[in-house]
Symmetry: C2
Subunit: 276 residues, 2 copies
C-alpha cells in the first residue's frame, strides 16, 4: 500500500518507532485541524492505535478515557505507552502524549481491552428512527474547519444553526443524524472512536454561536466486538447527541452510535469547558 | 475530632503519609466490603481524596475515571499520585494503587480539577418526580453485603428483586430512587463520587439473579461546585440509574444524581464484566 492510498484517518494516526517501544512518535495532521489544535477524535484514535498496535495487546477495546490536558502544537509529539496490568482476559493501558522542550503532558489516556466472549445479549437502548439515508441531504462540510470535511452529516434533528443573536430561549442540545466517514472506510475501533467525537459542541446549537469551548475529558465505551464493527462495513451510523447541563463554565455531552440492525456500537460522554 | 467520631466514609478513605508525597498508603475497609474486594465507590473516593488533599491541587473535581484493574486484597495498598499537567485554571492528575509483592497496579485513575467560574447556566436534564421521602419506606439495608448498610435506598421504580428463575422477559434496567448516606454527612465530591457507584448492578434486576459481575471502568462528571454540594447538606439525592446494553460479556450503566432544587450534581457511567 503506498502512502497516498491511505485513508486520511489512517494517515493522521500513524506512529513511527517500533510498535513495542514504550515511546513512539506521532504527529498532528493538518487535514484534521480544528480551532487551536488537532481534532480530538483523531488524537484519541492515535492513543488507541498505540495500544492496538502493541504486540502485547490482547482483546478488543472496551473503554477509553482521553484527557485533553493542553492544546497539541503542530508537529511531532512523543507517545508513551505502558501496560499497567494484564489479566487473563483483560488489560489496562496508559498512554501519554508529551511535547515541547519541557516534555509536558498534552494528553493522557487510559484504555481497557478485553476478550469479548459470547454471552446473554440484551439491548434496551433503541436506535432512532431515521429516514433512508439516500433521501437526505448531506450538510455542506466544505466551508468549515478542516476536520469537518472528513465526515458526512445528515441531520434529521438539531442541525446547528449559528445566529447573529444568542438563541432566546435556548434551543435543544439534541441532534439526531446519519454520520459517517466522508471517504468510505470499513468501521473499526479507531474510526468509531473518532466518530464519537465528530459532533459539534452542543452549546453551539443551544445558544446559536460559538463561544470559547474545548473538550477536557472524553470517555467512550465500546459495545461491539471488532468482528461486529467490520461486518457493519462503511455505511453510516445512526447517531444521537445530547447534553444534560451547562453550568459554572463546564458542560457535558453524550452520544450514542448505532450500526447495522440498530445495534448499539458505542456510547461516549464528554465534559467541556466553555466561556459564555 | 477523635477517630471514633469519623464518618465511616472518612475513615474508609483515610491515607497515611505526607499529603504532598508521591506515594501514600491506603487500606481497605471491612465496613465497605463487597463480594471479592472493597466497594468500588470507596476505592474511587480514596483516589480522589489523594488528589484533593495534595497541597498542589487547585479547583474542584470536574471528571474522574477509575479503572478497576484487579480485586484489591484486604489490607494496605500504595497510592501513587502524580500531577501530569497544571494549567492556569485546570489540572490533570493520575493516581495508581499498587499492591502485593509484585507491586502490580490494582487500580488506576485520572482526575481533572478546575476552577468553576460563574457562567451562563442551563440544565436540560430533569430530576425525576419523586414522592416526598418521608412517605417512603427504606429498603432493608442490613441483610446484604457490608457496603449496602452505609446507604439508604428508597426505591420508587426498579427495586431489584431476585428470583429463583431468570426473569423472562427481562425486566427494565431502570431504577428511580432517593439515595443518601445512611449516617448523615454533608455532601462533598468524595461522598457524591461514592454515591454514584451505590447502585446494584443493573443486570441483577434485569435477569433477577446475581451472575459473576464486576465494574471495569467508571467515569463520573461533576456538574456542581464544592460550595453547591455543601449547600445541599446531608439530604437524599434524587437518583436515576439505567443501562443501554448487555452484550458479549460486557454491559454498561449510567446514573444521574440530583440535589436540592433538582440541580444535576453528577452523572456517571460504568462498563462492567458479566458472565451470563
Amino acid at each position: 500500500v503506498s502512502a497516498t492510498a491511505l485513508h486520511p484517518l489512517d494517515a493522521a494516526t500513524e506512529l513511527s518507532g517500533p510498535a513495542d517501544s514504550p515511546v513512539r512518535t506521532g504527529r498532528t495532521s493538518d487535514a484534521y485541524w480544528t480551532f487551536v489544535g488537532p481534532f480530538g477524535g483523531i488524537s484519541a484514535a492515535t492513543a488507541l492505535r498505540a495500544v492496538l498496535e502493541h504486540p502485547g495487546r490482547e482483546g478488543d477495546p472496551i473503554a477509553i478515557t482521553v484527557n485533553f490536558c493542553a492544546p497539541i502544537a503542530r508537529g511531532e509529539f512523543a507517545v508513551h505507552t505502558r501496560r499497567a496490568r494484564a489479566n487473563r482476559s483483560s488489560q489496562h493501558w496508559l498512554v501519554e502524549f508529551r511535547q515541547g522542550e519541557s516534555d509536558e503532558a498534552v494528553l493522557t489516556a487510559s484504555i481497557v481491552t478485553a476478550a469479548r466472549r459470547e454471552s446473554w445479549s440484551h439491548q434496551t437502548a433503541k436506535a432512532p428512527a431515521l429516514p433512508a439515508i439516500e433521501t437526505m441531504t448531506a450538510m455542506d462540510n466544505k466551508r468549515s474547519l478542516p476536520w469537518v470535511a472528513h465526515y458526512d452529516f445528515r441531520f434529521v434533528e438539531g442541525l446547528p444553526q449559528m445566529s447573529a443573536e444568542t438563541h432566546d430561549p435556548p434551543r435543544s442540545p439534541r441532534s439526531v443524524l446519519w454520520l459517517s466517514d466522508h471517504e468510505p472506510r470499513t468501521l473499526d475501533a479507531l474510526s468509531l472512536l473518532a466518530l464519537g467525537d465528530a459532533f459539534f459542541g452542543r452549546i453551539f446549537q443551544v445558544i446559536g454561536r460559538i463561544p470559547p469551548f474545548g473538550t477536557v475529558s472524553m470517555t467512550t465505551h465500546f459495545h461491539a466486538s471488532g468482528d461486529e464493527l467490520a461486518a457493519h462495513g462503511s455505511g453510516a451510523l445512526a447517531a444521537v447527541a445530547d447534553s444534560h447541563v451547562f453550568h459554572r463554565s463546564y458542560c457535558d455531552q453524550s452520544v450514542e452510535l448505532y450500526g447495522r440492525g440498530g445495534q448499539l456500537f458505542a456510547t461516549s460522554t464528554q465534559i467541556a469547558y466553555f466561556k459564555a
